[in-house]
Amino acid sequence: MLRVEHLGKTYGEGDDAVEAIGDVDIEVAEKEFVCIVGPSGCGKTTLLKCMGGLLPPSSGQVHLRDQRIEGPPERMALVFQEYSRSLFPWLTVRQNVAFPLRRKKLDKSKAKELVENAVKSVDLTRFLDRYPWELSGGMQQRVAIARALAYEPDIMLMDEPFASVDAQTRADLEDLVLEISREYGVTVVFVTHDIDEAVYLSDRIVVLTPSPTTVQEVLEVELPQPRDQVETKEQQEFAQLRAHVWRSIKRKQEEKKPEAAAAGAAG
């Protein structure tokens, strides 16, 4: 449903130009859960913003169901890493979740239903009329997820959404996202730098190279569904995949290093 073709992104011009993304091709199927992993600073967020229509690519294109993306599409939602800066602090949980629905011009009772169902599926009904800053970090990110769900997207982009919550909350949120992505039948593209998280969540993993980014490898994850924090991670295949991705990223980083050093010496 989502097709990234020869996507490239260069910041700046002339001598100052920095090539963040070299040439990336990715295909995501309907209702698939795809994780994008790569070493830090490899342009994952840039890639995601190009997919979401927030940044215009320098070359190549992104298609959502054969429609070229030139701005944020109506059937797409994005969950940012910085929940505390992406929620509106002057709005309550209910108002935050309802805010994007203004684009859809729904009637009041329908909008109310969408909001309350979305908040219910992230288990925050008791906090509907609280402000985000009255909630913990993990709860705030759940509000951001509920906001994305109420928007009824066909595809949800998530940019390292659990990078700034503690480990226990993180595990809970991972399970929550798996559950609701199935329940709502939504396609998910999930960016993370955490390899365990990627293996645990994915149907497929896209491994990126360091910047300028290209796709290094695409891996099918055939761990049984539904996933379980204990049982899934005990499986042989989980450990193998995890090690594979780990080495894949590590090796590429090692290759890049001497190159960069040589370039530095030459320049």
Partner: protein
């Protein structure tokens, strides 16, 4: 001491100190023969004769009408122009030298010009008040809008929020703490400029009354006018503080939780 006790002590001090000062002033000035510092009781008598409520419609109402007309214009123009300059980098760069120049002119220097253009009526006073009050609101709005968190902007953009909702629902609320700081500064300026403009050229108003009393050697009356201005300033500030507290409740909450 309990928190409640501390609170009552605070309020008690707030009330007791001004009263104590007034009592001391009253005692020290009783039977005063010094011309410029008449007995406090004379000032109170003058206050009662003039402001309760003899001159309310002839001086207080015109003064406050000018003040709030100018202040209101400054708020509307300051926030609208601030939004424009805050949202558009180009507009900001183009306007910047002019804004900096206009802001640097000491406002009373514009009084002769204002009198030429608007005469000595309300127009000139409202113009001067609005012009001076404009800058803190305008500059704070520009800064506030300009520094709205990029993630908030992207969130609004990502969800396709219509531009009208983006202005009213995102940019203005996000900038409101700074806008309010500007308005608070302007509120004091409005009172000051109201008095100055009425002293320069006027036929009524509180500023006019104070100057006129001094010129006719009606010293207790002069003092009573100064008292009134002080009280008005205090009341406006307190009222504004209440509004601010209500509107920016989320901001204090969010900041407190960010500090942990």
């Amino acid at each position: 001491m309990s928190a409640r006790g501390k609170h009552f002590l605070g309020v008690g001090l707030e009330i007791a100190v001004p009263i104590a000062l007034l009592v001391i002033w009253g005692v020290l000035s009783a039977g005063s023969k010094t011309y410029y510092f008449p007995p406090l009781t004379d000032i109170f008598t003058a206050f009662k004769d003039n402001w309760l409520f003899e001159r309310v419609s002839s001086d207080v109402v015109p003064s406050l009408t000018r003040m709030f007309a100018g202040f209101g214009i400054a708020i509307v123009v300051g926030i609208s122009a601030g939004l424009l300059f805050g949202l558009s980098r180009r507009a900001r760069i183009a306007a910047d030298p002019i804004l900096e120049f206009l802001r640097a002119i000491p406002p009373p220097a514009l009084l002769p010009f204002a009198i030429l253009v608007f005469g000595v009526g309300n127009g000139m006073k409202i113009f001067i008040i609005a012009l001076v009050c404009l800058w803190p609101i305008l500059l704070n709005t520009i800064d506030g809008v300009n520094s709205v968190d990029p993630t908030l902007r992207e969130t609004a953009y990502m969800y396709g929020i219509p531009w009208r909702d983006r202005i009213w629902g995102v940019m203005l609320p996000a900038a409101s703490p700074q806008i309010f700081a500007g308005i608070r500064t302007s509120l004091s300026l409005a009172l000051i400029l109201m008095v100055i403009s009425e002293m320069v050229a006027s036929t009524n108003g509180i500023g006019y009354f104070v100057l006129q009393s001094q010129r006719t050697f009606a010293i207790p009356e002069m003092w009573s006018g100064i008292f009134l201005l002080g009280i008005l300033g205090y009341v406006f500030n307190a009222g504004f503080g209440l509004i601010e507290k209500r509107v920016l409740r989320w901001h204090r909450g969010a900041r407190a939780s960010a500090l942990g």
